[in-house]
């Protein structure tokens, strides 16, 4: 609730606005633009920076985390290879040290077997086979196999062909997993013979245990068919099939991201032993391996999101304050302009005062004389009845003259009165005629000819009457000031295009130089010295622009000036 209120307060004027304020759309658009711009210049670089950091950290941390895994698998693989090679070397050494005859002796082979168990451990039995595959001597738990023929068995054939043999893991008679290793000895004289030992795979488990894996990780050996050669913590027992495929044929240690048969994301590290054809596999859950990375990533994401939220809040707040300040400044400027406008309007009225005073004083003088005549008649004529008609004529004349005064004062008040801008459908021709009402006496007395070329079917315009009056009065005042007695002012209205009307006010007065023309819209620039305020045309220009119009001024020194005002029929303001 609090957050909703706070958000509403923060974004006020962005999505919604106060209908009573002047042209709020402008400020909404301004704020939206500021917000978008500020967000783009802050969030986009931040996002780029975060993305680059993410990429670099990911690459660096992954290497840092995965390298030890690779090293561990490589080392363990070497340990396995070393273990098996060591056993084979021992058998080779025994075969080269002892003769077939010596090893055929049960006591000798038993002594050697005891020594092997004591020194190396893991040996289950030791047997000697002649070139025909007959077990000649044996030391171990299965003495009853002595004299049995092994010539048809695979291990015997492979030993004879390759010279050495390492079996896959198999369950022996004791139902315990073990492997068999064998070496063939080829004496300089006499037939070849084979020495074979069986080794307990407990040693394999010990090597895997020495990897020091955590409780969520697993390591095991598989043969070329994917059959477990050691127990797996999570994926099956020894001699079971590994439930997911293990890539083969790569001599180097490989670490890669994979998915196990249950859909868990895992880090899979594997290396193929050189002999036998085993693959050492290390499986770690991805979440465990990359825990550090995930933690860092979460922290980076949190910092990024926090920064973005802070930026958004600051941008919204700042834009709000900024737009509010701009709006207040605009309102103050608008208010000052209106004051100036009103002042200038009063100045225009002052300019007209002499003419208006004359206009009012003349009818007042008539009233004065008519009333005076009534009084004279009352004083001088004895029989009032005979003067009744004369009285009626005089009083009627007084009423008519008062009406004339009222027209003048109303026109003046209608112009001077300060009104808020009110757009209405107006006839430009009517406005021109109204404004000329102020100046017609001056034109008459100064013998200034007013030529009116008003377009008869001029469409109406949506505008403010008072402001248009002020615009045309200012321009006409300038035209009257420019012409001498007997000069001419021509007013033309026309339809410029379907959306624009034009009013042209042309005088044949003194005109302006090019230099003067450059400055006429600058405030306080005047050529009338003490008679001018220098605000007439700047304010006129401001009003025309505010009403969605435009100006065109052409002047030639000594020939006259043409002011053309273009007004939009449907201004956007």
């Amino acid at each position: 609730m609090f957050l909703a209120k706070w958000w509403e307060r923060l974004t006020r004027g962005f999505f919604k606005y106060d209908d009573t304020s002047a042209s709020p759309d402008r400020y909404i658009a301004l704020r939206r633009n500021i917000v978008i711009l500020m967000m783009v210049v802050t969030i986009v670089p931040l996002t780029f920076m975060a993305a680059i950091n993410h990429h670099l950290y990911q690459a660096s941390l992954k290497n840092e985390i995965l390298n030890p895994v690779e090293v561990l698998v490589s080392k363990t693989k070497h340990s396995f290879e070393l273990f098996l090679e060591e056993r084979l070397s021992t058998l080779r050494f025994i075969a080269s040290t002892y003769s077939f005859a010596e090893l055929s002796d049960a006591k000798t082979i038993a002594r050697i077997f005891r020594t092997l168990k004591t020194e190396f451990g893991g040996f289950i039995d030791l047997g000697l086979f002649d070139s025909n595959g007959i077990q000649v001597s044996y030391s171990g738990p299965y003495a009853h196999f002595l004299g049995k023929d092994y010539s048809k068995q695979g291990w015997f054939e492979e030993s004879r062909v390759r010279g050495t043999y390492i079996s896959e893991v198999f369950m022996g008679y004791r139902e315990l997993p073990h492997i068999a290793i064998a070496v063939q000895h080829m004496p300089e004289e006499g037939p070849n013979w084979i020495l074979r030992a069986t080794i307990d795979t407990d040693k394999f488990d010990m090597l895997i245990a020495s990897m020091g894996l955590d409780s969520e990780s697993d390591a095991f050996l598989v043969n070329r068919d994917g059959i477990f050669q050691t127990h797996s913590k999570f994926y099956g027992k020894i001699l079971d099939r590994c439930p997911f495929p293990i890539p083969r044929g790569i001599s180097l240690t490989v670490v890669e991201e994979a998915v196990d048969h249950r859909g868990n994301e895992i880090i899979l590290a594997y290396a193929q032993l050189s002999k036998p054809d085993y693959t050492l596999v290390l499986v770690k859950p991805r979440s465990v391996v990359l825990k550090t990375w995930f933690t860092l990533k979460s922290e980076m994401f949190f910092i990024y999101i926090t920064s973005v939220v802070v930026i958004i809040l600051v941008v919204l707040k700042l834009s709000g304050v900024l737009v509010k300040s701009i709006r207040e400044a605009d309102e103050k400027r608008e208010s000052a302009f209106r004051e100036l406008e009103h002042g200038q309007k009063l100045s225009s009225i002052g300019r007209l005062a002499a003419g208006v005073a004359h206009e009012i004083n003349n009818p007042l003088a008539i009233i004065n004389e008519k009333a005076g005549l009534i009084k004279d008649m009352v004083e001088h004529v004895k029989d009032c009845n005979t003067a009744r008609d004369k009285f009626l004529e005089l009083t009627n004349s007084i009423v008519q003259t008062v009406q004339r005064c009222r027209t003048i004062t109303h026109r003046l008040l209608g112009f001077a009165k300060r009104l808020d801008v009110k757009f209405e459908e107006l006839s430009l021709n009517d406005i021109i005629t109204e404004v000329l009402g102020f100046l017609e006496k001056e034109a008459l007395y100064r013998k200034v000819k007013i030529q009116l070329n008003l377009a008869p079917a001029l469409p109406k315009i949506s505008s403010d009457r008072g402001q248009l009056q002020q615009v045309f009065l200012n321009i006409l005042n300038n035209a009257f000031a420019a012409v001498d007695s007997g000069g001419q002012v021509t007013i033309t209205t026309r339809e410029e295009n379907s959306e624009t009307l034009a009013v042209s006010i042309q005088d044949n007065g003194c005109g302006m130089s090019e230099e003067t023309l450059k400055h006429i819209f600058e405030p306080f620039f005047t050529t009338k010295k003490e008679y001018g305020t220098g605000l007439g045309l700047p304010i006129t220009y401001g009003i025309v622009k505010k009403l969605g119009g435009d100006f065109k001024v052409q002047s030639k020194e000594g020939q006259g000036t043409n002011f053309t005002v273009f007004l939009s029929r449907h201004p956007k303001t």
Binding site: A354, G355, A357, H358, E359, I360, N361, N362, L364, A365, I366, I367, N368, E369, K370, G372, L373, D376, M377, H380, L394, S397, T401, K441, L444, Y445, K447
Partner: protein
């Protein structure tokens, strides 16, 4: 005052006719003209003791008419009427030879007093 002949020139016909009637009630002999040209035309035909002249008139302005009256007969006293309060028309008229000026609307007694002063002074100046 009775019998003095006064010429009134003002473009406001209603005003000039009423004023003429009132001055007649006060014993003056008046003639009225509603523009400068027709007023000037009356001058050679009549011997006016004074002229009451409005300044603001179309076509031929009051000050121009004053100059022509003075050119025709500098002795005729001219009283100027102006509708523009605080304007410089009155003093300017006096510089051009007007006897005095009044601002509209004015009191009839004030006007008759000025007419009286103007004609009396003219008489004094002419026959010392």
């Amino acid at each position: 005052m009775k019998g003095w002949k006064v010429l009134l020139i003002d473009d406001e016909e209603d005003f000039v006719m009423t004023l003429a009637e009132r001055l007649q009630l006060r014993g003056l002999c008046t003639m009225a003209a509603t523009d400068g040209e027709s007023g000037l035309k009356l001058l050679p035909n009549e011997s006016f003791d004074a002229v009451i002249l409005d300044v603001m008139m179309p076509r031929l302005g009051g000050l121009e008419v004053l100059e022509r009256i003075k050119a025709f007969n500098p002795q005729i006293p001219v009283i100027i009427l102006t509708g523009r309060g605080r304007s410089e028309d009155g003093p300017r008229g006096m510089q051009l030879g007007a006897f005095d000026y009044l601002i509209k609307p004015f009191d009839i007694d004030e006007l008759t007093q000025k007419i009286n002063d103007a004609i009396t002074r003219k008489v004094t100046e002419v026959s010392p």
